[in-house]
């Protein structure tokens, strides 16, 4: 299993998420932007995309809107939507955005150009537009520049760009391997070999590093065999691991190197080990034909005859198995077995890694599973699956949303009459007029120096009582005793003295109370406005929600139907890949079997002589 993963990782590595995030820490000002980063740093690109779109749509990014839009572009790239990323970046560049953001955009645009096989344009962007590389994009920038220069065949500059990357990193090793092979293919053998040798000297690392070392050894072996240097080839093949993803090919090359040196006995061990492995591997199929030939060379005709028979038996069995497999593929059984039970359930989770060992056919399809075409198709199928699960989740949520909306509508219908009644009550009270009248009375009292108007409740009551007593005293005339009149006059004088003594503070106090009341009245007006708005705007908002919910229900149904069709088409595409692979494999097996039959008859004839 580890071997398989190594192989897959190595082949798919550039397509897999970057080892470090493209956006490193920087100051978060809008929490909504921080929330986007929270999903992004956990490589939950779909969730991050949704969070970004929601934040942009709900105006939750007052200060970091442009930064979030750049992030949206990066997420589009990560989510395999390069066209959307390019459109967004182009739009951003026409706007007046922060120059540091422009630099980021140029780097990401260059990556998009490179992916679209426009390396010259990509390099021009990097060299002319990017004057200072942001620290967090440094590795990404140099890796991209290395790839571009390599694609352009400018190998010396590629080497200089590669030197900017951490020497012990997987990225460096991977790019160095590609550079070495490119140089060998371009006729710069020595330079390429030097890089390959450096790779083989790397200390043992993780599965990816070890797989790169294996590939470097293989490349060296193949090169020396092609150059007619079997001793050198055998030397490098001697270091190959017997449990790595390229173990079978290494064993075969080791045997060939021995045979090319005219030492069949040395090839024997490698070939015996090789043919003990599953016949589904191509090197094992070739080894099965090679081994009896070695026995022949060594004069062991019986072993040779048996070897050819074993090979024929293996080819035939595998040929038949591929026929059965074709039927299983056409019936859809193979795909169901391959898919197994998808281990994740939450629609926002990242996609699961490819774990295809469940299928019996895994060994046969090892090379196919490691191909970019299969991996893309497989990933897309799972993405569609995830998206349909998301739709299922929304479909399940729609009735609850419907109930919620109905509850809002009911509450609104109950509240509207209450709101109208409240507004009518407030209007009927004419509070503003009452307050205006009070201000006028106070102004008049101040103007007329009317100290009687400034008494508090108790004083006003006393004043009224004294006025009434005075009126009675006047009415009763002489019947009122003089001392009572004096008392009355004394009390009147005392109250007047009290009221006049602090007339100014009293005026100020009354005005303060009225001003406070005026402020409260303004608050009441604001509340009144809100109640009025709630009674009218909420109706509009609820109508909008109702309409949107109806649209969404239809859209979910329509999308789900489209998703189902797309999944079927994607499954058919994956099955076609497998069938095409079998269609190529079976004639090859036929050819090998024919060679084995001919060799068998030769051996038998030779033995008979």
């Amino acid at each position: 299993m580890r071997r398989v993963l190594s192989l897959l990782l190595l082949v798919m590595w550039p397509a897999v998420a970057p080892a470090t995030p493209l956006h490193a820490p920087h100051r978060v000002e809008d929490p909504a932007y921080g929330q986007i980063l929270y999903d992004y740093f956990q490589q939950q690109y779909f969730a991050a995309l949704t969070t970004t779109l929601v934040a942009l749509d709900s105006n939750a990014l007052p200060t970091q809107r442009d930064r979030a839009r750049v992030m949206l572009g990066v997420l589009y790239i990560a989510y395999d939507m390069p066209q959307d990323a390019e459109v967004l970046f182009d739009a951003l560049l026409t706007e007046d955005i922060d120059p540091s953001l422009s630099t980021r955009i140029w780097i990401h645009l260059a990556e998009l150009y490179y992916r679209r096989a426009r390396p010259a344009q990509a390099l021009a962007l990097l060299d002319q537009r990017v004057t200072q590389v942001p620290d967090d994009l440094r590795e990404h920038y140099h890796a991209l520049r290395t790839r571009i220069l390599m694609r352009l065949g400018r190998y010396d500059e590629t080497l200089a760009a590669l030197a900017q990357l951490d020497a012990g990193s997987r990225l460096n090793a991977y790019l160095k391997y590609n550079l070495a092979v490119s140089r060998i293919n371009a006729g710069q053998g020595e330079a390429g070999l030097l890089s390959l040798r450096e790779l083989t000297a790397l200390p043992p690392g993780d599965a990816e590093i070890n797989a790169i070392k294996d590939r470097a050894l293989l490349a060296l072996g193949v090169h020396h065999l092609r150059q007619g240097e079997p001793q050198q080839a055998a030397y490098y093949m001697g270091f190959a691991r017997l449990d790595g993803p390229y173990a079978e090919l290494s064993l075969l090359l080791h045997a060939r190197a021995a045979l090319d040196q005219g030492a069949p006995a040395r090839a024997l061990g490698s070939l015996q080990q090789l043919v003990a492995r599953p016949m589904q591997y191509e090197p094992v199929q070739e080894g099965a034909l090679l081994l009896p030939g070695v026995y022949e060379d060594l004069g062991d005709y019986a072993a040779a005859e048996q070897g050819y028979r074993n090979a024929i038996e293996g080819y035939t069995a595998h040929y038949r198995y591929l026929g059965t497999l074709s039927e299983q593929i056409r019936a859809g059984d193979w795909f169901t077995e391959l898919l197994g039970e998808v281990p994740w359930s939450t629609a926002m989770d990242p996609l699961p890694p490819l774990v295809p060992e469940r299928a019996d056919s895994f060994v046969s399809f090892r090379a196919l599973f490691a191909s970019h075409a299969f991996h893309s198709a497989w990933r897309n199928y799972h993405e569609l699956l995830r998206q349909r699960r998301l739709l299922t989740r929304w479909r399940a949520a729609l009735p609850a949303m419907e109930q919620l909306l109905a509850a809002h509508e009911t509450r609104h219908q109950e509240r509207v009459p209450q709101a109208h009644a409240l507004l009518a009550e407030v209007d009927a009270a004419r509070l503003d007029q009452q307050l205006q009248h009070l201000f006028e009375r106070l102004d008049a009292a101040v103007l007329d120096n009317d100290w009687r108007a400034l008494g508090d409740e108790q004083e006003t009551r006393l004043l009224a009582a004294l006025t009434e007593a005075r009126a009675l005293a006047e009415k009763w005339g002489d019947r009122v005793r003089p001392n009572v009149r004096e008392k009355l006059a004394f009390y009147e004088g005392l109250l007047a003295w009290d009221l006049q003594d602090d007339q100014v503070p009293r005026q100020w106090q009354h005005r303060k109370v009225l001003n406070e009341a005026q402020r409260l009245l303004q608050d009441t007006d604001a509340l009144r406005g809100r109640v009025a708005r709630a009674a009218t705007d909420d109706s509009g908002r609820l109508a909008q929600w109702r309409s949107a919910l109806t649209d969404l229900t239809q859209a979910v149904d329509e999308l789900d139907a489209r998703g189902e069709q797309l999944m079927q088409r994607q499954q058919a595409a994956i099955e076609t890949l497998a069938l095409e692979w079998i269609a190529r494999e079976r004639p090859r097996l036929n050819g090998l079997a024919a060679q084995a039959w001919m060799a068998l008859s030769d051996v038998q004839a030779r033995a008979a002589r």
Partner: protein
Amino acid sequence: MSLTLWRRLLCAVLLLCSGVAVAGELSDDSAQFRRDILDINKRMLLMEEELLFPADTRVTLFLSLDVGRFFTPDAVTLKLDGDTLVSHLYTEREIRALRNGAVQRLHTTNLRNGEHELTAFVTGIGPNGREIRRAGTLTFEKASGQHYIQVRLEDDAAAQQPNIVFRNWQ
């Protein structure tokens, strides 16, 4: 070259071209589907939030980790007016994201206008693997409109301990 061979070649080329075209078409359709899914997902989320948490009563709670040199949070619990609102246990990936400057949207709830008390309890690991527990309380006035509260776990370099700092705004 015989006519049959030409025919075969032509068929092979057509088959190849149709295969490429079908693959391209599927890829285009899938890309459009992705766009539509993202759009509907956004609309559904916005609608769900509007229905569950109307803007007038909505309170959104965020958590962030400022530097985090002296503290690695294990769990956080938020209590609002004495009732537990939310508890969260952190994974390594989440901690890494927070350390890189991300902000976690911890919870969204509805609240009546008026005074409320929010208490944050945080447990985690401090310098030398020492377990650290911290609590902080914020009294805030909820008015009409959306309200946001950010719980920030800040490093106190002098004490080599974390501080809980609240930031709230409307």
